[in-house]
């Protein structure tokens, strides 16, 4: 786990420095210059932070659902610890993604909140996480808490495909790739608007945030085990 820990710290530090410090240039000459994306300019740098947090939010939710499902199958509370630890991280990353998105929206679209389909989706995900923890705090028996919150996570997860596939068709949006976007198909990093060096940095950031998630999940899991009295913390790991 120490490798994951240091790799995530190094990668995210690297992305932070490079993402902020590398200059923009209308016609990039060297590998260390970003091109200017019309309409985004300097604000494009946020893509290295906003998109990976949003991605990690969804990943954490899927992991939480998966371990919830495993709990229901096995009735082993260890899976519930994994599920809730992942959900807690998902909640944290969800707040980061919402805030970094809202700030970006303020400077690009004019206001913090625009009811863009993807903004709405992340808000609903935030509400799902909130409801999940509200439900957990209302249940006293660990086994019941584990089963009911797993069921709720899966039921809520069943509606997520509707947000991804249906809502963007029904609402007009501002995110790249939404209905009415002239430049066309997928999100920014799929279309041809990002230069090769931006892509490299973007995927480095994605990897860094995923490793950060794995490391934090491990930490939270160990804390949860200590709280549950399953691990003697004086012995370490």
């Amino acid at each position: 786990m120490w490798a994951v820990k240091y790799a995530s710290v190094v990668l995210i530090t690297l992305v932070t420095i490079a993402g902020i410090a590398l200059p923009l240039s209308p016609s990039p000459q060297s590998w260390l210059e970003f091109p200017v994306i019309p309409g985004l300019e300097e604000k494009a740098r946020n893509i290295f932070f906003h998109v990976p947090t949003a991605w990690t939010t969804v990943l954490a939710f899927l992991v939480s659902m998966y371990f919830g499902y495993r709990y229901l199958k096995t009735r082993d509370l260890e899976y519930d610890l994994k599920s809730v630890s992942s959900a807690g991280l998902g909640f944290l990353f969800c707040i980061l993604a919402t805030v970094s998105g809202a700030v970006w929206a303020k400077f690009n679209w004019g206001s913090f909140w625009n009811w863009d389909p993807r903004q709405t989706s992340i808000l609903i995900l935030l509400l799902i996480y909130g409801a999940y923890f509200a439900l957990r705090s209302a249940l006293e028996v660990a086994e019941k808490r584990a089963a009911l919150s797993a069921v709720y996570a899966i039921v809520a997860g069943l509606t997520v495909p509707f947000f991804i596939f249906v809502m963007p068709r029904m609402m007009s949006g501002l995110h790249p790739g939404a209905q009415g976007d002239s430049s066309g198909s997928g999100p920014l990093f799929e279309s041809g608007m990002m230069a090769a060096n931006m892509r490299v940095l973007f995927y480095t950031s994605l990897l860094g945030f995923n490793l950060l998630y794995v490391w934090l999940l491990n930490l939270r899991l160990r804390i949860a085990r200590i709280d549950a009295g399953l691990l003697d913390y004086t012995k370490g790991e």
Binding site: L77, E140, V141, A142, E143
Partner: protein, 204 residues
């Protein structure tokens, strides 16, 4: 039919309530579950009836050598327990009717209903809402509901709770005449426990 309990355990909040319990009870046999308050008698009965999933081990009902889960033979279990209440906005007859309709998709014969209600001294109050019943009368009605579809397995949790002398006599008759049933009784009453062929004592 034989009830086979294989090494079951159950814990709440990681606290063990039942620990490695095994026994078998065949048709015509009865077992008394005894133990202090909080030793897990009610929990054990709920696990046997399939109302709780055990944390470990398994409960099976063997019918002609075939293993069945408690859930699969739920319609053949009669259960009298303080945790299983009746619908108090319905009358005694309506309760019997709706529960046997949900249980077996048909209504129990009126002869059986009348005989059972009469044996528990409830025939005269059969059309009154259960809400108006005393706790002893509710307990008697639970027996009627449990017995009306002629169950193969009968589970009694605190069988004589709130009962008067007549009621206790009727229950004693059931304990003694369980020849064609698997009978499980959770009780703290030494005389009731003594009427059962087997006994399991919970707790240290």
């Amino acid at each position: 039919m034989t009830l086979a309990v294989d090494n079951i355990s159950k814990s709440f909040n990681r606290r063990s309530v039942l620990c490695n319990i095994s026994f078998t009870v065949a048709r015509g046999e009865s077992i008394a579950v005894t133990g202090k308050n909080g030793s897990g008698k009610s929990t054990l009965l709920k696990v046997l009836a399939g109302l709780l999933t055990p944390s470990g081990g398994a409960v099976h009902y063997l019918v002609d050598g075939e293993k069945h889960q408690p859930e699969d033979i739920r319609t053949r279990i009669g259960f009298v327990s303080p945790y299983l209440q009746l619908y108090d906005e319905f009358s005694a007859l309506e309760n019997i009717e709706l529960i046997s309709r949900i249980r077996s998709a048909r209504i129990a014969s009126s002869d059986v209903c009348e005989r059972l209600l009469a044996s528990f001294d409830l025939w005269g109050r059969r059309d009154d809402l259960v809400r108006t019943y005393s706790s002893g009368m509710k307990q008697k009605l639970k027996y009627v509901v449990a017995l009306v579809d002629d169950p193969d397995i009968l589970m009694l949790d605190e069988p004589s709770a709130n009962l008067d002398a007549d009621g206790i006599q009727a229950v004693t008759a059931i304990l003694d005449s369980a020849k064609k049933r698997v009978l499980v009784v959770a009780t703290n009453d030494e005389r009731e426990a003594a009427r059962c062929g087997k006994r399991i004592h919970l707790g240290a």
